[in-house]
Symmetry: C2
Subunit: 123 residues, 2 copies
DNA sequence: TATAGTGTAATAGTAAAATATAACACTAGG
DNA sequence: CCTAGTGTTATATTTTACTATTACACTATA
């Protein structure tokens, strides 16, 4: 995995798995790879993976069944809620940051528009 | 100061000062508070502040004058460039994250639009 | 029932960030 | 020249994330 050394690995693993759940790579009720396999996949330690999973279990997104494995919740409402939560967190962050740089609401919007346009051309 | 324990303090201090420079709270050529005073201001250690400053000095945004103090660069072009850089980094992050959540370009834009609208109503 | 695969937990060790503290080097002003 | 204020650097210590390793608890199945 490609880690950003500015933020904890367990946090990045958590986010990574959340993304897989939200995009449907991991479907509701589906079994996750074993913690040992996950550790290999993301090139991290079992304990680090476990820490990430613990938070997801607490959040109710993952259900842990001892001796069987970890499973994505079947409550699709929770997954949808999680998605909204992550999206909103992202939007809030950009908004706050750019606002703190004295960009107006419209400037923030148009700058994102421009960024997307330029990004499309660059490909 | 209000630190996010998910990212290094020196990095947050760096960002904090960058914001003050870009918004004009700290003007070109202006002297920064002493490192010891800054440490008190942000409730961190002198060495931690120094680490943040070191990166800013390397980046050419801050000029250090031993015995006199640290000063914001007078090259306004550099400051403008820094602003573009920070804004772009923010835009890139949201875009990548939301794109990874399977939001299309237009969905990303409209969701930001909606966020700003709702935020306005909440006040 | 034995075994392989699973989650869970504990221990010890390493590395990096941050702190506390002190010392050093330079500058300006009295 | 001396002193107060500045940046700079170094040392030792604490804290936290991460790793390596091992052991334990449970489940399914051959």
């Amino acid at each position: 995995m490609n880690f950003d050394d500015k933020v904890p690995i367990y946090y990045q693993i958590e986010n990574h798995i959340y993304h897989e759940i939200i995009t449907g790579t991991l479907k509701p009720g589906e079994k996750l790879p074993s913690v040992r396999q996950l550790a290999v996949d993301v090139t991290a330690n079992v304990n680090t993976v476990q820490r990430a999973l613990s938070e997801m279990i607490t959040a109710g997104i993952i259900e842990s069944k001892r001796g069987r494995g970890n499973f994505v919740t079947m409550e699709t409402a929770k997954i949808e809620q999680l998605k909204v939560q992550l999206v909103t967190a992202q939007l809030a962050q950009v908004y706050e940051q750019l606002h703190a740089l004295n960009l107006s609401d419209t400037e923030i919007l148009t700058s994102l528009q421009q960024y997307i346009q330029q990004r499309g051309q660059a490909k």
